[in-house]
Structure formats: structure tokens, C-alpha cells
């Protein structure tokens, strides 16, 4: 390797001196071939193997498929058999790979020395110390052992409890920063069933979301993305072509709000009141389902306080708006659904009741008969554990996942409590803030290296199996727990009947077979589950009704907001901070603000001018993230750079969760602010004061200007116009028959193309991260993004409509933009060395090894989708193990761009040829299309009119357009226009 590097360096230097040194440079490949001693029958070197498993990045529990080559997982994709993911996967799920191959993972067990530094120890020593301390604690009395960590699925959580019990303790807290406690509590209050309902957005005609960012971070975004796309697709409803009505109530426009017909900018904490006001209108207008068995008078009394006018005065949301969205909701004949994601408990109840009174309970919102065990502990339980720690009742604390030191509210005083614990053992992959508190750090398997199961909802049993050998010398958390129970807990420990976690999982699956009554031998059942990634059954809905006592409850009106509110929201990619050590997630622009590698204070221009920050925002809509404001919080002042944006309610300072790490690896450490550190328990907002400082700190974005200036980039049209057959006009008048100097080139075989439905796209950026993973795209870091050097081949283009446009079109113009693979590609004729040329299958090829880096092609590209390698890429070990062996890693000085995943096309074509058949439609799925939860991207053969891609164009005639048609580049990518409704836009 060093030999190769020095050769390359020499060549580079020699180029300055003379041309004689111009021997084509390349790094010699490995010079040794080491065969298997005994080959694995299932593995063909050079061909991928696929393993079904489950995603562990959030609680949605999507099924995923891991693509493994030569024993290392290189890509995660959605598992089509899984009803939740439906074969798609989100950005965070894709990035799980970077958690697996994180360069900052703990490689060896560590012990903290008295001076606070860490010393590597052997596993024997670490196990001995762990077991000794546990044995001592077990002997010292009951409750001297505690566990705080993330839930790892029902089976493993049961083991955790059994392990604690073996040491005579019940001090176990499964911690999740964004808990579903308010939703469960509200369900219990409204329906007497402490469970989370499932939603069927695709069966609704109207959706109102009370700050439930269901397309970004709330519950199960992949599933909702798919359902929402179907909800929003133009359909015949009541004899009229229409798209679903959708209103979003919340302080900031996120990707979910961006797709709405109406974004009701509400103060944090007032969503519940607005929901009640909507309920008030619905009830008073008599839009109650006729046979729902609801006592109308009781409901009327319940909502009497929430007269729209009054709530309007209270919250600053116009009464007409409330009445309008209430009418959408109440008058929906084909079902409506209200979702609540706000921290306000009232919002949850009101949303449930809205669904119930309009007869949508059991239709668009369904409670299932069986209630799977709750993954997370209730707050009281966690507080009890921490209190015990603080009181010195705990000798050994095990922290495994969840990063409580980072994400627990200050009132828990977790860090203080930990100081009173004799021995803190941290188990995990990348050492985070909680690991900083630990005395013993044990490297644990990443979820992709270990066994686990999931039960995201009744009827769905996901099986998580290891997809590769561990990257480091780590152990599974529960292997350690079981072993310690066996060794250190005496006979109580021996009661745990498993040798290790894998045992436990397979045991619980043999139980499961009995439970669901599946046929076949246990081995068949188990093998089948391993093949499909779990068992997916149709769960029966529960018959639930509104508990009549709920109408008696009285709730308080929200206070009229005075002064500024700081409101924190889960970052679309970093979520509660767990994504912060993944460079893909840091570098993918947050879809709405388009900011990378930072946390920021998003404020309205009005708020900005109140704070004395002048930004010429409306005129330019140029990015203005520079000024730093100081926000006073109960936990002391924090300083954040402001992002001035109309997409947030005036008076609100919106701050993303996820940054502000003081540990957690090179990508996470030392960026931004952690709002968990000052927010009260269970709340995401807090009244603050803010003042301008003289400091500046640049927020970095790859985005230039947010103003589309009427160019034909992301087009939209009203669904009414679609019905009428009127096409909107963007930019210049179209030329019917452009003059062609030359005859067109024929593409007799395949001609690959893409159809992208802008209406379905919600900006979730799963495609972006999928592309990073599939195509070995380098991450360049904040400074280089600032210079315009972001490398993503597909970007989620985001424009903000001007104030005058805002009344008419969509709230935000969002669409994925990748290489358009033009027939008349402007990039091709300008390349002096044919590095950019066209294939006989209509692809715009970029031959990296031919490229000399004139960069002429990008200059001539109207879409600006080509990327240049300004530096050699860096993949710090072991991130290099993730690299896709089918895709060249591009060195410095080379242009690159979207290839429609040529490696997948080639491989499918080779397979087809060797099997003596044609390539089938749907056989080739580029990474972006594969990942897209909303199925906005379809790939196929333009020459095959029956292909799904072409059918999609045919089915949506009147909605198709190509980007910037004035350049007559004849793109192979056809977009379908975004749709909006004319009504309610006045």
C-alpha cells in the first residue's frame, strides 16, 4: 500500500516537471490470493449475498436486507417482505452502516484510570472485573445492580430484566429520548387501551397533523411516506379528481409540513388547543359520524371552551383557518385522520377524539387487538432507578445504548446520580457521553453484528440476525449479561436458561411458532424467519370505543405566548443525536433548512429584526446563517447562529436536537448545541430571552439561492388544472418542434430512463444517503461544503416560493435532482477526451479513469449535477470496509456523477445474458429508487412502453415535464409535477 502511495505521490510531483513521467498511475491491486480452505457453499466470491434483518436505528422496526460481499456488509436496503418498510428504508437506516464501521468505535475493553484516562485491558480482565463487581453487588443486597439503556427488542429486554433479577434488582430503565409516553397516556385516557394505534393514511381523504412529523421523525416515517404518497396521489374522489387534503399544525415547517395544503404556524404548546378548536368546529357543525355512539352533548360541553375565535385570540392562528381545516376534516367522506406528535398531551387526546367522533377509529386509525410489550420504561420507573443511584443504593450500573447522559432532561440529574455509583459499566459501539461517565467500557456488537428481535406492533415479529462477523473484538451486550448472571449471580443466575443471546432469540422464536400456530418444523419456521427477516402476520383490530369519562376532563387553555419560545425539534437525520457520529447524516443537508454539520437557531425574519439582525431575506432569499445570538436558558446561555427563514413561526426559535455532543467520535464532537441539556422533562419548548451578539459563526449549506425564479426546475400545478388539462408554463414558451441540426441517435436496445414523481417526494433524503452508500461517495466535511464541494450525486433540491407565489403553489418546492442522462447531453461534446460520452443504452457515461479534470462538462450542465473530486477521498478505517467493490473509488481531480447505478444495470444485464433472456422490468433498481419510501422514483426502459416507468408517465399524462426544457437537452428523467389544491389557498 505504501509502495503504491509513494508511486502516486511521485507521479503527481513529476507532472510539474515534465510530461515524460506521465505513466498512467494506479495503485497496484493486492498481490496475494488466499483461497478458502473449505469454501462456503452459499458464498460466491464477487457476488453479493443478502441477509434479511431488522433496522435498529429507531423504534419503527423496519425490516431490512443487508447486501454482503466477501463477508462484509456494504449496503442496507428495505425488506420488501416487511409490511412496515415495504422494501424502502430511510436515510437514518441507510446510515446504520456507518455506525457499524464507525472509525471511532471502541476496539478493545477499556478501564478508566484514576486520572480519568482510559487504558486498554484484555477481555479476560474486563470480564473478570465486571463479574466480580456484579457478584459483590449481588451479595451486598437487593437492588444494588442497575441497568439503563435502550430497548433491544422484547426477547433481549426480557433477558435484561432476568439478569437484573438474578442479582436481586428490578432497577432497569429502558430509555428513549423521544418517548411515546404522551401518546400512550392519551390512548389510555381516551380509549382505555394503553397502546399506539396504527394509521392508514392512504385510506384517508384528509390528514391533520398536530406537529407529528410523520414524514421525517415521528413513529414510522418509511411506512407513512409510502402511505402519504398514495394519499396524495390524484384520485377520483366523489366524482372529482382530487388529492388528499392535508393541514399541518406546528411551529416550524418541516418536510411533513412542506407537503401540506396548509401549514398552520402554531406556537409550541398551542397545538392541543387548536386541535380542540378543530374538534369544536367539527362537533358544532354536526360532522359527527352518525352511528359512532358518541354523546354529542357531552362532547359539545367538553369542547365548549375551545371556540375558534377564542382560540384564535389565544394562539394567534386565524379562526378561519381553524374552521377551514375543520371543514376538510369533518366533510371528508372517505375518511380522515388526525395525528399528534407535539409534546402537548392535549393534542394527543384531541387528535384521538377527532378521529373517534368522525368515525375514523378502526378505519384510518386502528388499535390492534394484541398489545406488544412496551419497549420503553415509563418515566417514573427511570426516575426511580436514577433516584436509587443518587441515594447510593446502586453499586454497579450498566449503561447500554440510549446515551442517557446526553439525552436525559436536566431534572433527572443523571450525571450527578452516576457519580454515586460504585462501578459504571458502559457497553456499546461508539463511546458517547455516557461512556465518559463509565469506569469500564466494554465494546459491544453493533446491532448488525448481533441477534435480536423486534415487535414494533402486534402481528409483526422482526428477526434481527447478524449479517457479518464483528468488525472489532466486541461482544454482544446480552452475551455479557447472560455470562455474568451465570458466573456471578449464583443459582439465581443459573436460572437463565440460555447460553447466549442467539440461544435466547431462537428459543423465543420456537415459542412464537406455537403462539401464532405456524405450520412446519421448528427448523423450517426458523429458517424461513431468517430468510424473510421475521414473521409478518395480519393482526386483528381491537374493538375500542371512547371512554365516556374522557368528556368530563377539563383541560387548561394554553397561555398567550409572551416573548420568545425556544422550540427544539428532532433533526431529520441526527434524530435524538444518535446519528451525529455518521458522516453521511451530518453531510446530508437537513431538507428544509439545507444546513449541514451544525445546529442552528431558526427564526422568522420578523423575529430577526426584533433581535436587531437585519437580513435582506425577502429580496434575496439567499442563505443568511452568520449572526450569533445568545439564548438564555435555565441551564445558562447558549450561543447559536441564526438561520433566518420564513418557515418558522414568528417568536419561535427553532433548534434541532442531535448536535452538541461532547464525545461520540470525530464526526459528532464539538458541533452545535444539545437542547436536551436545558429542556424540561417531557417538553420540547421553553420560554427564553435572546439577544444579538457581535460574534459570527457561519452556518454551512450547499444551497445557493432558495428562489427558483420561475425556472422550469420543480414544477407544480393544481389538481384542478390537471383535471382541466391545463399545463403550467415555466420559463420560456416551449418550442413544439425544436430545430435539430442532426438526425437523432437511435437506441435500438434498452434505453434507460427514470420517472420522478415530485408530488410523492417529501424530501426525506433517503435517496441521498442510499447513493452515498452505494456509490462510494466521499464525505468532504463542513469547510468544503461551504466552498460548494458537496459530493452527493443526487440532491434534494429545495426552493422557497416567493411571498406572492406562496398563496398559490406548494408550500415548498422539493424534488430530487440527479443526473438527467440527457440524450443531447451538454456535458458530452465539450469533453476533450470522451470521459463523458453516451452509451448505446441512453446513459450518460462518466469514465473516471479517462477524466483529466477539465471540468468543462459541469460548466455546461444546466442541472449542475456533476461533482468534482477536489481532494482524494478519505475513508478512515474501518469505513473503507463499507466501500462497494463494484464501484470505482474516485481519486482527486476526477469528475463524477450519477450513473443510474450502472453497476446494477451491468450486473442485471450479465445475468440476463447468461440466462439467455431479456432484462425484466423491475430487475434493475437504482439505489435511490430502492430506498425511496414514497416510491417517487421509478426506473425502467424507455423503449418498453409496458415498463412500470413508462406506464407511470402514461398514467400521469398532463403532469409530466422535463427539467429546463429550453436547453433541449432531452433528459431521460421525466418528472411528474407537484400537485396542490386551489381551494383554501386564497
Amino acid at each position: 500500500m505504501s509502495d503504491g502511495l509513494s508511486r502516486r505521490s511521485f507521479l503527481k510531483l513529476a507532472a510539474t516537471a515534465s510530461a515524460a513521467a506521465a505513466i498512467p498511475g494506479c495503485e497496484p491491486a493486492a498481490r496475494k490470493l488466499i483461497p478458502y480452505v473449505v469454501p462456503d457453499e452459499n458464498i460466491v466470491p464477487g457476488e453479493p449475498t443478502f441477509f434479511a434483518t431488522t433496522c435498529s436505528e429507531c423504534s419503527a422496526g423496519c425490516g431490512i436486507v443487508a447486501r454482503v460481499m466477501e463477508g462484509r456488509v456494504i449496503k442496507l436496503e428495505g425488506n420488501p417482505a416487511d409490511p412496515i418498510s415495504g422494501g424502502a428504508i430511510c436515510a437514518r437506516g441507510q446510515a446504520a452502516l456507518q455506525g457499524l464501521y464507525n472509525p471511532d468505535r471502541l476496539a478493545k475493553p477499556m478501564r478508566r484510570k484514576p486520572d480519568g484516562s482510559l487504558a486498554a485491558i484484555s477481555w479476560d480482565e474486563a470480564n473478570r472485573e465486571f463479574n466480580d463487581k456484579l457478584a459483590a453487588a449481588g451479595k451486598a443486597g437487593t437492588g444494588r445492580v442497575a441497568f439503563v439503556g435502550a430497548s433491544m427488542g422484547p426477547t433481549l429486554d426480557a433477558i435484561t430484566l432476568a439478569w437484573a433479577k438474578a442479582f436481586g434488582s428490578d432497577r432497569v430503565g429502558f430509555w428513549e429520548a423521544f418517548s411515546d409516553e404522551p401518546a400512550r397516556k392519551a390512548a389510555e385516557a381516551c380509549f382505555g387501551k394503553r397502546d399506539l394505534p396504527i394509521y392508514r393514511l392512504d385510506q384517508a381523504e384528509t390528514i391533520i397533523s398536530f406537529d407529528a412529523d410523520f414524514l421525517g421523525t415521528w413513529n414510522s416515517p418509511v411506512e407513512f411516506g409510502r402511505q402519504f404518497a398514495s394519499f396524495r396521489a390524484p384520485k377520483q374522489r366523489n366524482g372529482k379528481l382530487s388529492i388528499g387534503n392535508y393541514a399541518y399544525v406546528g411551529p416550524r415547517m418541516n418536510t411533513s409540513a412542506a407537503k401540506a395544503d396548509e401549514w398552520v404556524a402554531a406556537n409550541p404548546g398551542s397545538e392541543g388547543a387548536i386541535a380542540m378548536a378543530v374538534l369544536n368546529v367539527v362537533v358544532n357543525q354536526g360532522w359527527i359520524a352518525p352511528n359512532s355512539g358518541i354523546d354529542v352533548s357531552a362532547v359539545k360541553a367538553f369542547v365548549a371552551d375551545y371556540d375558534p375565535e377564542k382560540i384564535s385570540a389565544q394562539t394567534g392562528v386565524p379562526a378561519q383557518t381553524i374552521q377551514r381545516i375543520a371543514a376538510w376534516f369533518g366533510q371528508a367522506t372517505e375518511g380522515a385522520v388526525a395525528l399528534a406528535g407535539a409534546d402537548d398531551p392535549l393534542a394527543h387526546s384531541a387528535a384521538y377524539l377527532l378521529n373517534a367522533v368522525t368515525g375514523n377509529l378502526g378505519k384510518t386509525m386502528v388499535f390492534l387487538a394484541e398489545t406488544p410489550p412496551e419497549a420503553n420504561s415509563r418515566p417514573e420507573q427511570i426516575k426511580a432507578v436514577i433516584d436509587a443511584m443518587r441515594d447510593g443504593q446502586v453499586d454497579v450500573l450498566v449503561i447500554a445504548g440510549g446515551n442517557p447522559a446526553y439525552s436525559m432532561p436536566p431534572t433527572y440529574a443523571f450525571r450527578d446520580a452516576v457519580k454515586r455509583v460504585g462501578m459504571v459499566v458502559w457497553m456499546g459501539d461508539a463511546p458517547d457521553e455516557s461512556a465518559e461517565l463509565a469506569n469500564l467500557l466494554l465494546p459491544a456488537h453493533h446491532p448488525l453484528e448481533s441477534w435480536r428481535d423486534t415487535a414494533p406492533r402486534a402481528g409483526i415479529y422482526g428477526l434481527g440476525q447478524p449479517v457479518m462477523q464483528p468488525v472489532f473484538a466486541s461482544r454482544a451486550v446480552h452475551d455479557m449479561l447472560i455470562e455474568s448472571a451465570h458466573l456471578a449471580a449464583g443459582s439465581a443466575g443459573q436460572a437463565i436458561p440460555f447460553e447466549n443471546a442467539a440461544d435466547a432469540i431462537s428459543a423465543s422464536w420456537s415459542q412464537l411458532q406455537g403462539k401464532i400456530g405456524a405450520s412446519g418444523t421448528p427448523k423450517e419456521f426458523w429458517d424461513n424467519a431468517r430468510r424473510t427477516g421475521g414473521v409478518f402476520t395480519e393482526a386483528k383490530p381491537a374493538a375500542v370505543n371512547v371512554v365516556s369519562t374522557v368528556w368530563k376532563q377539563k383541560s387548561q387553555l394554553p397561555p398567550v405566548p409572551a416573548g420568545l419560545m425556544l422550540w427544539a425539534f428532532p433533526h431529520a437525520f441526527l434524530y435524538d443525536g444518535r446519528g451525529a457520529n455518521k458522516s453521511w447524516l451530518q453531510e446530508t443537508p437537513e431538507p428544509v433548512s439545507q444546513i449541514v454539520w451544525d445546529s442552528w437557531a431558526e427564526i422568522h425574519p420578523d423575529t430577526a429584526s426584533q433581535l436587531g439582525i437585519e437580513a435582506n431575506y425577502e429580496q434575496t432569499r439567499l442563505f443568511a446563517g452568520l449572526h450569533v445570538i445568545e439564548i438564555s436558558t435555565p441551564n445558562g446561555p447558549v450561543e447559536l447562529s441564526v438561520n433566518i427563514s420564513r418557515l418558522v413561526r414568528p417568536g419561535v426559535i427553532a433548534v434541532p436536537f442531535g448536535q452538541g455532543h461532547t464525545a461520540y467520535g470525530r464526526y459528532a464532537k464539538g458541533i452545535g448545541v444539545n437542547p436536551f441539556a436545558f429542556l424540561p422533562e417531557g417538553l420540547r419548548s421553553i420560554a427564553v430571552s435572546a439577544k444579538k451578539t457581535d460574534k459570527t459563526h457561519k452556518l454551512v449549506t450547499p444551497l445557493g439561492k432558495s428562489d427558483m425564479m420561475g425556472r422550469a426546475i420543480i414544477e407544480s400545478m393544481s389538481v384542478e388544472d390537471l383535471a382541466r388539462g391545463i399545463e403550467p408554463q415555466y420559463g420560456e414558451e416551449p418550442i413544439d418542434q425544436p430545430y435539430e441540426m442532426y438526425p437523432p441517435i437511435a437506441y435500438p436496445g434498452h434505453k434507460w430512463g427514470m420517472t420522478v414523481d415530485v408530488n410523492s417526494c417529501n424530501g426525506c433524503s433517503a435517496c441521498v444517503v442510499a447513493c452515498y452508500a452505494e456509490n462510494n461517495i466521499q464525505v468532504v466535511g463542513k469547510d468544503n461544503v461551504n466552498l460548494g464541494r458537496i459530493m452527493s450525486w443526487i440532491r434534494v433540491e429545495r426552493y422557497i416560493p416567493s411571498l406572492e407565489e406562496a398563496g398559490r403553489g406548494p408550500l415548498l418546492q422539493i424534488a430530487p435532482v440527479m443526473c438527467q442522462q440527457c440524450d443531447h447531453a451538454p456535458c458530452e461534446p465539450v469533453c476533450p477526451v470522451f470521459a463523458s460520452s453516451h452509451t448505446r443504452e441512453g446513459l450518460n457515461a462518466q469514465i473516471y479513469n479517462r477524466c483529466i479534470g477539465t471540468r468543462f462538462c459541469e460548466n455546461n450542465c444546466p442541472y449542475k449535477v456533476r461533482r468534482f473530486n477536489w481532494y482524494d477521498p478519505e475513508f478512515p478505517e474501518p469505513l473503507n470496509l463499507q466501500l462497494n467493490p463494484d464501484v470505482t473509488v474516485r481519486g482527486a481531480g476526477v469528475m463524477e456523477k450519477c450513473t443510474f447505478c450502472i453497476q446494477r444495470i451491468t450486473s442485471a444485464e450479465i445475468n440476463a445474458r447468461t440466462e439467455n433472456r431479456a432484462v425484466m422490468d423491475g430487475e434493475i433498481v437504482p439505489a435511490c429508487a430502492q430506498a425511496c419510501p414514497a416510491r417517487a422514483i421509478t426506473f425502467g426502459d424507455i423503449n418498453d412502453p409496458k415498463s412500470a416507468m413508462m406506464k407511470r408517465r402514461d398514467d400521469n399524462k398532463g403532469r409530466t415535464y422535463t427539467m429546463l426544457p429550453g436547453y433541449n437537452a432531452l433528459p431521460a428523467v421525466t418528472y411528474l409535477r407537484d400537485l396542490y389544491q386551489e381551494k383554501g389557498k386564497a
Partner: protein
């Protein structure tokens, strides 16, 4: 009888022409070598930054999306443009039998060569993988791959290399009689040096006869070539669809701009050279006056081109083009455009005054303005247009970093270093041509020259 040196008196005798021109090549003093050392230092700085850029990648520059072309290509166009006036003066005016060219053409042509050599470096500096630049050249190879002759960059490669060859041959041919003369009066290593370069020239009637025909034909080739080269350079941009560049008037507009900037640089070089090298007698105020008239004329052409360019955009009513022009005028880098108008359109208007045309200080200052203005013009055109192209989400204005600045400064050092060495070792004034036209020149310079005193 020798004329009084430094009085702008044109010499009467052939031998005086020789002596004045040959004095320049006398062994150099300390000042000259200090100057050379300074220039070599600039070159070294540029080369070291370039080395770093090659080693680490183009990331060390301020480049980024969408400014994939910026300072390097600006420098390329600037230096190619500079080159053009040399060919204009030596070839085009030769065909037109314009006598005043004889005194300045060698200087202009030397400038051409070194400007092309400098310009030719920039596309290579600009490349992402400069060690593969030879892929632009068609040569037989095992891959059966040849350059794409459809690409304007390939045209460029051919145009610039043809231009360099032609100019170099043109210059060397013109040098032969002068070098032969030099050979005859030198001693020591210089004699050997000049003997080789003179190729045995003796000025026989046969030699002169073929020489004049070949020279005439070379001039005949150079004339369309000079027009084609800058047209081809302009097509680098004009064939692009990028708003602000996609314009049919680019070819004539670039050629005019090239002559404008080139003549200005001739003035910039001539003013100190006349003084330091004591050739005021050969390059008189009258010559400088003529040069500045060319500058004035091309400045007016350039102004007209600017107006046409803007008018065409306005007339097309293309919103994307119009926005790019709006950004060019009033965007956040609009001051560059303002500076360019000031330097290229307004300041040269001073040359309408005969007093200014004959005042060397004024001429020098104005020519510097023009040089800056023409550099800005290319920068505004390239970096400015790319910064505000079709996709607004990718807009970004370019700000150079130290690497580009150092390499640009180094390129000036490189040019001046070559030029300075040339002046010391090869005749910078064409003696034969001056002698040939001496009668005519004496007559025209002797004519009442109302503002000669101003010199």
C-alpha cells in the same frame, strides 16, 4: 553621425540603428540581474504553489460548485489575448505595410511568444489530473482512443499549439538576419550562440528573395490564424449553454478585446523599456502615439461589444440570461463589473487627447488600467456567469485563495522573466526592418510633430 541619444531623434544611418539596438544586448549590470532574480523568485513561488496543488488536489484553491472555472481560465484567456496584439502588429500590419510597426513589432512578437507560453500553462494548471494533459493530443495508443475533436478544448489545444508554433517560427525567422548581424560583431561564447541561431544567414539575394516570400506567406497565415485562435478561445465559452456566455458575438468581441489588451501591454512594456534600454531613438513618441491610437480604437470596439452583448440579452428576453446579466451588473460581485467598465471603456477615452497620447507616464498608467480591466472582463465573464447559472440552488460566488493568487503572480513573473532574458540576449528591435524603412521613417518622423515636446 549619430543622433543625440534619448532625444527621440530617429537615427540617420544604418549603423546608428544597429548600434542603438545592439547596445541593449551589452553584458548586463547588477540591476538587471537583481530584476531577473526577483522575477525568478516570483516564478518559484508560483511553481511551489502549483506543486502543492498537484500534490494535494485542486481543493487548495477556492474552486467549488458551480465555479468550476475561474482564475486559471481567466489567466489563460488573458494571456492568449495579450499574445494577439503581437501577431496583429507583426503580421496584420505587415500585410498592410504599416511602417510604424517596424520599431515595435519585435517586442510585440516576443511578447506574443511568452504570453502564449504562459497561457498554455494555465489549462494544464487548471486540470484536475495535469499529468494526463497529453491525452488532448492525438497519438497512437493501445486503447484506440483519440481526443474528442468536437470539444472546444480540443480546438483550443490545436489552435494554441498551432499559434505557438506559427508565432515562434515567425519570430525566429524575423530574427535570423538580425542574429546574423549580431554574430558578425560578437566574440566568445556569444559568437557560437549566435552562429548556431543564425543558421549561416548571409543576406544574399537568393536568401532575401525566399525569405521575403516565406515571411509574407507566414504573415498571410498568421492573420487568419490570429482571428481563429481567439475565436476558438471565445467558443470555449460561446458553445456552452451557460447563461452569460452563450452568445454569438463572442468571437469578434474576444478578438477585439485581445488586441486591446495586447496593445496595452505592449505600451506597458515599451514605456519602461524605452527608458531603461535607451531605445527612445528607435521607438519614438510617434510610435507610442500610434500604438495608443490602436488601444483607443479597440477600446471603442470593446465598449460597443459590451453594449451589443447586453442589448442582445435584453432583446432575447430570456429570463435566465437576463438574470445572469442582472447579477453581473448588480449582484454581489457587481463592483468587478463596474471596475471593468471603468478600466476598459472610460479610462481609455483619455487617449483622445494628443497630450496624453504622447505623455509616457499617462500612457503607462492608462495601459495598466486596461490590463486590469481586461483581466476583470474575463473574470466577470467566467466566474461571474458560472456563479449565477441555470440552477439557482447551485449559485455561489467565487473567491480565490492564496494558491490562485500565487500562481497568477508567478505567471506574471514567468512572462517577464522570459521577456527580460530575451531582451538581453536577442535583439528586441528589428534592425533589418528599421533599416529597410529608414528613408520613409525619417521622412514621416521629421514631419512637423506638433506635440513632440510633450515627450
Amino acid at each position: 553621425m549619430a543622433a543625440a541619444v534619448g532625444q527621440g531623434e530617429f537615427p540617420i544611418n544604418y549603423i546608428d540603428v544597429d548600434r542603438t539596438a545592439q547596445r541593449v544586448m551589452n553584458p548586463a549590470g547588477l540591476k538587471y540581474w537583481l530584476w531577473v532574480a526577483f522575477l525568478a523568485f516570483l516564478v518559484a513561488v508560483g511553481v511551489s504553489y502549483w506543486t502543492r496543488q498537484i500534490y494535494e488536489g485542486l481543493g487548495v484553491t477556492g474552486y467549488g460548485q458551480p465555479n468550476y472555472w475561474a482564475v486559471y481560465i481567466t489567466n489563460f484567456v488573458f494571456w492568449v489575448g495579450i499574445a494577439h496584439s503581437g501577431t496583429l502588429i507583426s503580421a496584420v500590419l505587415y500585410l498592410f505595410r504599416t511602417r510604424w510597426r517596424t520599431a515595435v513589432y519585435r517586442c510585440a512578437e516576443t511578447m506574443t511568444i511568452f504570453a502564449v507560453v504562459t497561457a498554455g500553462l494555465f489549462p494544464i494548471i487548471h486540470l484536475g489530473r495535469p499529468w494526463y494533459f497529453y491525452w488532448l493530443c492525438p497519438y497512437p495508443n493501445e486503447r484506440y482512443l483519440q481526443p474528442n475533436f468536437r470539444s472546444p478544448l480540443t480546438w483550443d489545444f490545436f489552435a494554441i499549439s498551432t499559434y505557438l508554433t506559427t508565432s515562434a517560427l515567425f519570430l525566429s525567422m524575423g530574427l535570423i538576419p538580425d542574429i546574423a548581424n549580431q554574430r558578425d560583431i560578437s566574440t566568445g561564447w556569444r559568437k557560437k550562440f549566435y552562429t548556431i541561431l543564425a543558421c549561416g544567414w548571409q543576406g544574399t539575394d537568393r536568401q532575401w528573395r525566399n525569405f521575403s516570400m516565406a515571411y509574407l506567406l507566414l504573415a498571410g497565415f498568421a492573420t487568419p490564424l490570429v482571428l481563429s485562435v481567439h475565436s476558438v478561445v471565445s467558443w470555449d465559452f460561446a458553445t456552452m449553454q451557460t447563461p452569460g456566455m452563450h452568445s454569438t458575438i463572442f468571437a469578434p468581441y474576444f478578438v477585439a478585446g485581445a488586441i486591446f489588451s495586447g496593445c496595452a501591454l505592449v505600451i506597458t512594456l515599451m514605456v519602461p523599456m524605452r527608458k531603461w534600454l535607451h531605445i527612445e531613438d528607435l521607438v519614438t513618441v510617434w510610435h507610442m502615439d500610434n500604438l495608443s491610437k490602436v488601444v483607443l480604437f479597440t477600446s471603442l470596439v470593446i465598449t460597443y461589444s459590451y453594449l451589443t452583448e447586453a442589448f442582445v440579452v435584453w432583446y432575447s428576453q430570456d429570463p435566465i440570461e437576463m438574470m445572469t446579466f442582472y447579477q453581473r451588473f448588480f449582484g454581489s460581485q457587481g463592483y468587478l463589473f463596474g471596475g471593468m467598465i471603468l478600466c476598459n471603456c472610460l479610462v481609455p477615452l483619455l487617449l483622445f487627447s494628443p497630450r496624453i497620447r504622447t505623455n509616457m507616464i499617462w500612457l503607462f498608467v492608462i495601459s495598466i488600467f486596461v490590463n486590469i480591466g481586461m483581466w476583470l472582463e474575463r473574470f466577470v465573464l467566467i466566474a461571474g456567469s458560472l456563479a449565477t447559472a441555470q440552477t439557482p440552488s447551485q449559485w455561489r460566488f467565487y473567491v480565490p485563495k492564496i494558491t490562485e493568487v500565487a500562481i497568477t503572480v508567478g505567471s506574471f513573473g514567468w512572462f517577464l522573466l522570459n521577456f527580460s532574458l530575451f531582451t538581453k540576449f536577442l535583439p528586441i528591435v528589428s534592425m533589418t526592418e528599421l533599416k529597410e524603412g529608414i528613408t520613409w521613417l525619417r521622412k514621416s518622423i521629421r514631419e512637423p510633430y506638433p506635440y513632440r515636446k510633450a515627450a
